[in-house]
Amino acid sequence: MPGQRPAARAHPAANTTMLFGSPGDDQTKARRFRDAALPYLDDVYTVARYLLRDPADAEDAVQECYLRALKHFDTYRGPAIKPWLLAILRNVCHAEFTRRARSAATAIDDLPESGEATAPLWQETEDTPETQALQKRDANSIQRMIAALPEPFHETFVLREIQNLSYREIAEIVDAPVGTVMSRLARARAMLRSAWLAEEEPSR
């Protein structure tokens, strides 16, 4: 991120000793990294919670993400740090998906490559009356419906609607063309809309 941050200064406290005898560069780097990356902790944690659907796993993934990011901070060239962090987080989460799939039979989260073929969990929109109005829902029930979306539609939706990232940023993070992001998002919203309307049926 050249130019974005003031040039690293010599550490002001003369009495500071180096930890583990590490060179001052490491501390300067860690300091620059903290300034740049820690402000996005809540963002990264939010995405981890959505992707992994488990608070403890999310914490581990976020910590792993920040450690990896610090390690590779030297090679970071922008443009924006948030998508960069989220791309790293996504890799960590996918490693976790793989681990889960291997260790358990209940692999509801799958890699996007195979997830693309996942059958929809509900009927597509054709059966839904177009005029039916959406009822308001609270955050919990919306989160539950979002959590039911299959990958990769789920992650695309979260990056767009919860993180407000642009299509281009999402494309960078999920390493797919913008057109793919668009069609996944359309699919995700169509599925969510069906779930939203279906859940309303009993109250009508």
Partner: protein, 253 residues
């Protein structure tokens, strides 16, 4: 345009991702197609319904600590409350007594804090993220902070006095949430950071130059203020004077 195309593109329309030409094509189609018009309406409602809810999670404090602990850090420095300003001695008991959650930094010195503030200022200018709430109306900006911070910073419209209120932003100093009220003087942005302090005594404003930026800090009504800008020192002093006067006149904002 066919309905199949519209099914995809209307999302880009909702998200403001379409160029003017394509947006017009989608709009033309929707004007003549009841099905797609209804779909657009539902998706817009859905998006609004989601946006109205707080769908985000906040990272637990212990996670932040775990991550910070895992990073190389300077050794041999005592923990001092820097954002709590010049607070000494009884600050901790005062915090406990009042339930104030003061912002406590694990840092070396005030220079470090000043540097953080300049970093936050630079971030706000360059990341396209100057304001979270964009409004020149103090009655819009102030309520926006409620619920986002422990303390709602005073938001005072100084437009008539030559400092235009632009909006507010949630920022982070040393990884802690802090309120920033954003003003403009000509082309110069002024970020006014506000944090609660258990120290209720008034401390007069003083200016320091940090990395080519002027920071003017003062303490008033149990709040620490840092105004940071590339504005010259005289005009920044004028800003803090006018802000303090207006705050007194408003009866503590």
């Amino acid at each position: 345009m066919t309905c199949d195309e519209s099914d995809i593109l209307l999302h880009a329309l909702i998200d403001g991702e379409l160029d003017a030409g394509h947006a017009r094509e989608v709009e033309n189609h929707i004007a003549t197609c009841a099905r797609c018009a209804a779909a657009l309406r539902t998706y817009r409602d859905m998006k609004a319904a989601i946006a109205a809810e707080d769908m985000r999670f906040t990272a637990p404090a212990h996670l932040r600590q775990r991550i910070e602990a895992a990073m190389p850090q300077p050794r041999g420095t005592s923990r001092r409350s820097l954002l709590a300003g010049f607070a000494m001695g009884s600050a901790v008991s005062a915090m406990a007594a009042t339930g104030i959650v003061a912002i406590v930094l694990r840092t070396d010195d005030e220079q470090r804090l000043a540097s953080e503030i300049v970093s936050a200022h630079l971030r706000s200018l360059q990341a396209g993220h100057l304001t979270d709430v964009l409004s020149t109306d103090q009655h819009t900006v102030k309520p926006w902070f409620n619920g986002r911070l422990d303390v709602s910073p005073p938001v005072i419209d100084l437009t008539a006095l030559g400092f235009t209120l632009i909006g507010g932003r949630l920022d982070y100093i040393d990884g802690r949430a802090i309120g920033a009220v954003v003003y403009k003087r000509r082309a110069h942005v002024i970020n006014l950071f506000v944090a609660q302090t258990p120290n209720a005594t008034h401390s007069p404003a003083r200016t320091e130059d940090v990395q080519g930026f002027n920071i003017r800090r003062w303490r008033d009504h149990g709040l620490n203020f840092w105004a940071v800008s590339d504005l010259n020192a005289d005009e920044l002093a004028e800003f803090s004077d006018k802000f303090e006067k207006a705050m007194q006149a408003n009866g503590n904002g």
